[in-house]
């Protein structure tokens, strides 16, 4: 009797009030490549972490090759032959290839490590599985990302892996390297390994997966063969969510271009990007992790210097060499990680709000405390920041209110262009609506806004126009009315490329 490689049934996992996994199933057969897809927050990484023993499950059963596992730890699951290739390259950079492959499994000669045997076996494994003639004494830090991935996989094979779990293995690879990796995976499949493949790139899923489990809101909503149903169907299964009435409407006339970008290039991140943002407009920018969208917006705020191309403000070319410089030009950025970049959590609400606009409240080098206090109180009231007063320390506020403090900080300095980088991440629904209202107010005041979000629904609802970045290039531009989440996701994951070309 043959068993499934992995059988997870009825898995539940809650974090506080959030149900990350709700009765989710995942069944993987040996000798198959099994895709795992879903939007951000659908539960992909949670179910993998349950399997890896990083999270303890609240309910459900896990069976590996017929063995029911009660509690899972990283060590016990590895003993079952289940190996995880993490998204970040978890290899010691100062180790050699052979050392990395055999770490904790070192061949010995008496009390010594047998480096000769270790090097030979490492070389044999690389040759056998990957047809790669790599000196096993090469340092990990000298290898390309793709080769490091290969070393990681080899490490798993050296430990007799029967199941390989690859989390976004292609995120940092170029096309040719992806093809090599896929050839390897197909070969391993023939050796009867079970491979779980997690990717945002739908084209890759279609390319390589025999079966796909689609997760949505913590539940598996379907197990399908991509060859049978096609990618559009899978995308539909992923995005089908009930849209609530949480997006306030605005009616703003869009004016002249404020910020123009022409053929902007940052080597290794994005190429030849051109677009305009107009007064009163909300322009959405979206792309998958690593597509270059973050770097693009960072460049507009002077955090990175472009290698070529032009940025124009009010039709005058500017060079944004630092964030300070960008602020002087009237550009404000509301960063994603507000704890790291957005607010000084050890300062008070009032100090944070006035930080970026002290010039407007000071005379002769002294801060006019009265002007400051008035302005702060006004903004607290307008934005509905829930705080006992301007003197409360920001670290004592909730996440949503912290985010509002960041927004208030930039509102107070009267910028022309607002770069909003995931402003609603980790914010509750009520605070989200208030942030949307703020965006509408900025638009009404004629400000230009660039809105970055990986939540396709809010992009769809809030933007006048959306550009989609795929591997560093603008792959699509959609106006209000043409924007819908399926379309954006398909474009962002590269699945649309072929369709667009066919219809063009």
């Amino acid at each position: 009797m043959t068993h499934a490689a992995i059988e997870m049934h009825g898995i539940n996992k809650t974090f506080g009030p959030v149900k990350a996994l709700d009765n989710a199933d995942l069944v993987v057969q040996p000798g198959t490549i099994h895709g795992l897809v879903g939007q951000n927050g659908a539960g992909k990484s949670t179910i993998i972490k349950v399997l890896a023993g990083i999270y303890a499950r609240d309910g459900g059963t896990v069976t590996v090759f017929g063995n029911a596992l009660q509690t899972i730890t990283p060590a016990t699951i590895e003993a079952q032959g289940v190996h995880f290739i993490h998204q970040d390259r978890l290899l010691v950079p100062t180790a050699t290839v052979a050392e990395a492959i055999f770490l904790r499994n070192e061949p010995r000669f008496g009390p010594f490590i047998s480096y000769r045997q270790m090097n030979r076996r490492a070389h044999d494994l690389l040759k056998r599985y990957f047809d790669l003639d790599l000196d096993p004494r090469t340092l990990i830090s000298e290898l390309s990302t793709a080769k490091q991935k290969i070393v990681q996989i080899t490490r798993a094979l050296a430990h007799d892996a029967r199941v390989l779990v690859l989390d976004e293995p292609t995120a940092a690879l170029v096309n040719r390297e992806v093809e090599n990796l896929f050839a390897v995976l197909k070969r391993l499949k023939k050796d009867n390994l079970a491979i779980i493949f997690i990717s945002h790139y739908m084209a890759e899923i279609e390319d390589i997966c025999d079966v796909v489990t689609v997760l949505r809101n913590g539940t598996d909503v379907g197990v399908v063969a991509p060859g049978d149903v096609g990618i559009p169907k899978i995308v539909e299964m992923m995005t089908n969510r009930d849209t609530s009435e949480m997006y306030p409407r605005r009616n703003v006339e869009i004016g002249a271009p404020v910020l123009s970008v022409r053929k902007l290039t940052l080597d290794g991140h994005f190429r030849d990007v051109s677009f305009d943002v107009h007064a009163g407009e909300v322009l959405g920018i979206t792309g998958l992790l690593g597509s270059g969208d973050k770097e693009l917006v960072g460049t507009l705020f002077g955090q990175m210097l472009p290698d070529s191309g032009e940025i124009r403000l009010q039709d005058k070319p500017v060079s944004l060499c630092s964030p300070v410089n960008a602020v002087r030009h009237g550009i404000a950025k509301i960063p994603e990680d507000r704890r790291a970049h957005g607010v000084a959590t050890g300062l008070s609400v009032g100090e944070n709000i006035s930080l970026a606009s002290l010039d407007q409240m000071s005379s002769k080098g002294f801060v006019n405390r009265k002007t400051e206090a008035k302005k702060v109180d006004r903004l607290i009231a307008e934005l509905g920041i829930k705080t006992p007063g301007g003197h409360t320390l920001v670290k004592n506020l909730s996440g949503g209110n912290q985010q509002k403090v960041v927004v208030a900080k930039w509102l107070s300095c009267n910028s022309q262009v607002y770069l909003l980088d995931e402003p609603t991440v980790a914010v509750d629904v009520g605070a989200k609506v208030e942030i949307y209202n703020l965006m509408n107010r900025l638009a009404a005041e004629g400000k230009a806004q660039i809105f970055m979000s990986s939540d396709l629904e809010e992009i769809t609802e809030m933007c006048d126009r959306v550009i989609v970045i795929y591997r560093g290039e603008i792959i699509g531009e959609y106006r209000r009315g043409e924007i819908d989440a399926d379309r954006l996701l398909a474009a962002a994951s590269g699945a649309q490329m072929d369709n667009e070309r066919k219809s063009a």
Binding site: L90, V92, P93, L103, P111
Partner: protein, 332 residues
């Protein structure tokens, strides 16, 4: 399959500019070592005399043994010496252990009590470091600085900041004994070096320790109990401090305030040692060479009649130079 000849010889990309600069730095270290040796041999009278060369090795022994302690801490807490861990307490710890050993002998306890007490004290201070760095997660620079002050304070309490002279037969053997024409002190250095080369460079423990320091998360993902290894590194540094303290007392026939001042040369030796390795990481062999290098430097200055005050300055400059050069080489 024939085993030995099967190592592949592909060397593609080995001779790009980055590797050339790495090789240049490594060669440069050896050339500088040889050059300075040659310079002293030509200019400083008596430098090459057997008596003086033994003296150099003996001077380097204490430095080298304590530097091994810091080297192991470097290996286990971050082979990138700037971001990783450090043990600033090693020298002060040795001073405290020397005081413990010395005071116990003075008060009539034999070596049977005093030696275990010195080793135990050293390991206890090492344990405090582990507690601060691993359990309490204080950054190593600060945590071990605090522990350094604890050790220095305890030493002063024990000795009341005075020189406490003692004598014992064992101390005489350690300080003046000879075996096969080489002093016992030098034997201690050589034998310890060989044992540590095996443990650190050629055993599973060593490889795993390097992994813990090289990439903490990767070591964890490989199933290594990283906290235990870091604790172990600090305990080992403490043990080295305890063992070395006995040699210090033997050599000086007393415990002398100011042992803590040896911290700078110890750090210089451990850091300079990284230049002698292919990967620019701390190694036992590298630290051994670096300790000799610094010993020669101090000795040569002495012979040339240059004020010993300059030596500290040169050691400080060496630290800056080594850290700057290796981090430059890594970045490229």
């Amino acid at each position: 399959m024939t085993a030995a000849t099967d190592i592949p010889t592909t060397r593609s990309g080995r001779f790009n500019s980055r590797n050339v600069s790495k090789i240049a730095i490594r060669l440069g270290a050896f050339v500088a070592f040889a050059g300075i040796f040659l310079y002293f041999a030509l200019t400083a009278r008596g430098f090459l005399s057997p008596y003086n060369l033994t003296n150099v090795i003996e001077q380097s022994t204490i430095l080298g043994l304590l530097a091994f302690g810091i080297t192991v801490v470097f290996i286990g807490t971050g082979t990138d010496v700037q971001k990783g861990g450090i043990d600033l307490s090693v020298a002060a710890n040795a001073g405290l252990c020397a005081a413990v050993y010395d005071v116990l002998l003075r008060d009539g306890y034999g070596n049977g009590v005093a030696i275990p007490a010195a080793l135990g004290t050293g390991m206890f201070i090492g344990f405090l470091n582990g507690l601060a760095v691993v359990t309490l997660r204080i950054i190593p620079l600060l945590g071990t600085l605090a522990v350094m002050n604890i050790a220095a304070g305890l030493e002063l309490t024990l000795t009341e900041n005075t020189v406490v002279p003692v004598q014992s037969p064992l101390m005489n053997t350690l300080a003046f004994g000879r075996f096969l024409g080489i002093s016992v002190l030098a034997w201690c250095f050589l034998v310890t070096t060989l044992i540590l080369v095996w443990v650190v460079q050629f055993s599973q423990i060593g490889l795993r320790l390097y992994a813990v320091g090289g990439h903490h998360e990767a070591a964890k993902a490989a199933g290594i109990n990283t906290g235990r290894y870091i604790y172990g590194a600090y305990l080992f540094a403490g043990l080295m401090a305890g063992a070395t303290s006995i040699l210090i007392v033997s050599r000086l026939s007393s415990s002398t305030p100011g042992t803590g001042l040896i911290l700078l040369p110890i750090l210089a030796a451990a850091l300079l040692g990284t230049v002698f390795s292919r990967r620019f990481i701390p190694t036992i062999g590298g630290t051994f060479l670096a300790a000799l290098f610094i010993g020669i430097l101090a000795n040569g200055f002495q012979l040339l009649g240059i004020s010993s005050y300059w030596v500290a300055g040169v050691q400080g400059a060496l630290i800056l130079l080594v850290v700057a050069v290796t981090s430059f080489a890594k970045k490229n």
